[in-house]
């Protein structure tokens, strides 16, 4: 007899609880006391519970001053962040899709390497050069990868496309003439649900010939 059968046989009505950590002082539980850049902030943190810090991020060659929490991811800054002047960063090309570093929808370049922005804390991105999909083209001149994606229809709904574009650029930066197997390996961190893969492979091949 399985455990479940036993449970049903004894007909126990258990009471279960869904409850937040830290009753009453909920706010305190969400603010690990780290990351403080000065004593003033450290003091403020004990009152305000949520500790914040001002950081500078270099995104697409623009310097942003942004107030973040310790837990704030790079992706959150890109999509939802507001600079200290009150302007939205509003770089919504990178998407949160799986929320756990599995699908590549949030891929950006950090110092030229493909990184999942949902898995990187904003604070860890300080001092690094961040390039999002919005920064891949040179003004109105599309990158060869972007041209090739359009030519081969390497997109359908297009929601995963920014991640694939950035991963493809990272791949070609490291390997100018990848084989099909190397393309598959290089893009294996990105997921598409519409099933555009064959045309993505074609696009990367075309772009590699042009670069």
């Amino acid at each position: 007899m399985s455990d479940k059968d036993k449970k049903q046989d004894t007909n126990i009505s258990r009471r279960s609880f869904i409850k937040g950590v830290g009753t009453g002082t909920v706010a305190a539980t969400v603010a690990p006391a780290i990351l403080v850049s000065d004593e003033k902030t450290a003091e403020a943190q004990t009152d305000q519970a949520i500790s914040k810090a001002e950081i500078q991020l270099n995104i697409n060659d623009t310097l942003y001053e942004i107030e973040v929490e310790a837990r704030t991811t790079l992706l959150t800054v890109l999509r939802d962040g507001t600079d200290t002047g009150g302007n939205n960063v509003d770089l919504t090309g990178a998407k949160l899709i799986c929320d756990r570093g599995e699908c590549g929808g949030c891929t950006v370049l950090v110092d030229g390497k493909a990184v999942y922005a949902c898995m990187m804390l904003a604070m860890d991105a300080q001092g690094k050069q961040i390039t999002t999909v919005e920064g891949i083209a040179n003004g109105d001149n599309l990158h060869p990868i972007q041209e090739a994606f359009i030519k081969h229809d390497a997109m359908m709904c297009g929601f995963c496309t920014p991640g694939f574009i950035v991963s493809s650029v990272a791949l070609l930066n490291e390997n100018r003439k990848p084989t099909l197997t190397e393309i598959k390996e290089g893009l294996s961190g990105n997921t598409c649900r519409c099933g555009t893969y064959p045309f993505i492979f074609d696009a990367v091949e075309t772009a590699s010939e042009k670069m």
Partner: protein, 705 residues
């Protein structure tokens, strides 16, 4: 009679045209609902039950309400009501940031009295099982029965029979953009809703009804959307909740489902289990088919599947039931009922053919009344190299064994009279095509531009296509059933033709020619009987002065056709040491009617095949019978095809006539049977339960040995 004209005369229709939204999509500038940031916008989140069956005894929102940054908290279920599946909504919050909203959910106090549950079909069908619905008798619906002829008499004529049980598990849609909305009230009576939906007007009408507003006061926008696959027709609890949170706070609210919720509550393809006995005569004719089957669509019904499928059987008896379990409800998913039914039927066909000692392709030819598919069999077999197939299954040598299989499918996709559209020609030469349809990534935006550009002698970039917006008041149907292009294209075509006629009426006096002697050139209008008389498009539209030509169109049935046939061939390589199935190649021959855009049609065929690969080899909602929870409600453990699973795919656009058909769904149907039969052909052991994972392959090989 209206027609699309001869293929040889088409400049754009049927060619490979890049999609209009391409540049926006590759630069990250395309704005999906999830990307909409409004001034003062709040972030909404929903607290969901982690237990599958319970009575709510208490909900206390106080702590959450008092949190800094929280602007609204609302219950979505009352104490005393029942939870019937994991993921069911309990309460919602709106907060200044998404992180605060997340925190606020943790501060909501909920007390539940857990109840016994059923997580799987087997549990639900067991004697004395806990009931999902108090007012049902057990968990199984009354059987729906069907049939024709005399099954017993049919079996008496049969030279061979096969009895088998086939199973496909629940599959989830996995839309990459989760279900969600951004809602903003412009005043107490009017709201704008950015919706990730397959039905702009469906969402408008549904929300208006639930909010008790006139429909025209709900403005729905879907400029781009990140996948639906049948699951995004209604605003759902989350849409209504976003609207209410926004109303309460007088702030815009964005509420997108989490990835976990997307798996749990945003729809799924029901499971299928069928016990089937079928017989064939010595000369290879199907003669009898007797099937009993069931599936689960979660707490509700809707677990239908096809069977028999595609092939002609004179004597049929079927019995189907829905089995309720404590899990999220099914929704339409890409060709509902067909892929699972096709998997069973195509497996059955091969099992019968083997007993008859026939080549399975020949056996299909004898039982398939579709002339289109007969031609497709020939084409596909050539393309895959069917002659290389093992004549005896599993007879290959070595550790890695290769095999080939075939599968078939059919679909409707003939469209309907549900679309209103206008084509405008402005005096400055610009052209607008406006309708309330939506582009799910299928390419309807580009198809509309192609049709109008073809009619006017322009390029697709010259056409401003305005879709995905309810404001112009030009309703179109939801994008489901592969109905979008066959519904929209004929209306756009006739609207463009009407507008062209009006323009000709302005041009005729200038060219001193009768209207019916005018023709469209490339960027020009000329007189057919005297080609020296010509004006440019700009000169022609300049004659309009203050006028704008604005014409509607009719859904001309002669321009579309339903009933498409498809067949696919697969070649696989099975590693008999690891059990891993590697697909080498899939040839997909798909009847498309007239493909408006060959490039995006190929994309759709690729996409269907790849979703079929997922269903055959990877995808399964895994329910824990001990806790009633889904064990793989994420993208790590719920495996959808990635780059390494993609074989060489040969999409063959089989356009045999000049009428438009929809093709979004049909290419995902034949894939399952083709792969499953190829695996059998490779290893000589049949796997009747999807997905065909390495453990099943190794177990099957062990049993054979």
């Amino acid at each position: 009679m209206a027609s699309w004209g001869e293929a040889s005369q088409s400049r754009l229709i049927g060619k490979r045209i890049t999609r209009l939204s391409g540049k926006e999509k590759v630069t990250g500038k395309a704005k999906y609902t999830y990307d909409i940031n409004r001034p003062g916008m709040l972030y909404g989140r929903i607290l969901r039950s982690e237990v599958p069956h319970a009575t709510v005894t208490e909900i206390d929102l106080t702590d959450a309400q008092e949190m800094p940054g929280v602007r609204a908290v609302m219950p979505l279920i009352e104490a005393g009501r029942k939870i019937r599946y994991q993921g069911q909504e309990i309460a919602a919050v709106a907060a200044e940031t998404d992180d605060i909203a997340k925190d606020a959910l943790r501060a909501i106090y909920v007390e539940l009295e857990e109840l016994p549950f059923v997580a799987t079909e087997a549990d639900a069908m067991a004697e004395g099982a806990p009931q999902v619905h108090d007012d049902w008798n057990g968990n199984q619906s009354n059987p729906s029965r069907g049939g024709q002829g005399d099954v017993e008499a049919g079996f008496a004529e049969a030279a061979v029979t096969v009895e088998a049980t086939y199973h496909t598990p629940v599959q989830t849609h996995v839309c990459l953009e989760t279900h969600g909305h951004v809602v903003e009230w412009t005043d107490e009576q009017n709201l704008t809703v950015w919706a990730s939906t397959q039905a702009v007007f469906g969402v408008r009408n549904d929300l208006a009804r639930r909010l008790e507003l006139p429909a025209n006061q709900v403005h729905v926008i879907t400029e781009h959307m990140g996948g639906g696959f049948g699951s995004k027709f209604s605003p759902g609890v989350e849409g209504l909740t976003a609207a209410r949170l926004s109303r309460m706070t007088e702030r815009p609210v964005k509420l997108m489902l989490t990835r976990k919720a997307e798996h749990l509550v945003a729809g799924n393809r029901p499971s299928m289990t069928q016990h089937v006995k079928a017989g064939a005569t010595r000369d290879g004719r199907l003669i009898a088919y007797d099937m009993r089957g069931h599936g689960t669509g979660g707490t509700g019904g809707g677990a239908g599947f096809t069977g028999p499928y595609v092939y002609h059987v004179p004597n049929i008896r079927t019995e189907r039931t829905n089995v309720a379990v404590n899990a999220g409800s099914q929704r339409a998913m890409r060709a509902p009922g067909h892929p699972q039914g096709a998997f069973a039927m195509d497996s059955l066909m091969d099992e019968l053919a083997e007993k008859l000692g026939m080549n399975p392709l020949e056996f299909r030819r004898l039982n398939d009344e579709s002339e289109v598919r007969q031609a497709q069999y020939t084409l596909g077999a050539q393309e895959i190299g069917w002659h290389r197939r093992n004549s005896v299954a599993g007879s290959g040598t070595g550790i890695k064994k290769r095999g080939m299989g075939v599968g078939s499918g059919q679909w409707g996709g003939g469209g309907g009279a549900n679309t209103q559209a206008r084509v405008n020609i402005n005096a400055d030469g610009t052209v607008e095509a406006i309708t309330g349809t939506q582009d799910l990534g299928t390419g309807i935006r580009t198809a509309i531009a192609i049709i109008v550009a073809e009619e006017f002698g322009l390029t697709t970039e010259d056409i401003i296509v305005k879709i995905g917006d309810s404001a112009p008041g030009l309703p179109a149907g939801g994008s489901g059933g592969s109905q979008t292009t066959p519904s929209v294209a004929p209306v756009i075509k006739t609207a463009a033709a009407n507008a062209k006629q009006k323009l000709f009426e302005h041009v005729a006096p200038l060219l001193q020619a009768p209207v019916d002697d005018l023709r469209i050139g490339t960027g020009t209008i000329y007189v057919a009987s005297d080609r020296t008389k010509t004006v440019t498009w700009q000169q022609a539209t300049g004659l309009l002065g203050q006028e704008t030509i604005s014409e509607g169109g009719e859904w001309d049935r002669e321009l579309r056709q339903g009933g498409v046939a498809g067949t696919q061939f697969a070649e696989v390589e099975v590693d008999t040491q690891t059990g891993h199935v590697k697909i080498l190649k899939i040839v997909a021959v798909q009847d498309c009617g007239l493909a408006i855009n060959r490039l995006t049609t190929e994309s759709q065929i690729n996409g269907g095949v790849i979703m079929g690969i997922g269903q055959t080899l990877l995808e399964e909602r895994i329910m824990d019978p001990m806790t009633g929870r889904m064990l793989n409600a994420n993208l790590e453990d719920y495996k959808v095809p990635g780059t390494h699973e993609i074989p060489e795919i040969k999409p063959i656009v089989f356009d045999t006539h000049r009428k438009v058909s929809g093709v979004g769904e049909p290419p995902c149907i034949p894939t399952l049977g083709a792969i499953a039969n190829a695996v059998y052909n490779a290893i000589g052991v049949r796997i009747r339960e999807l997905p065909i994972t390495p453990d099943k392959v190794l177990n099957a090989l062990a049993e054979k040995a």
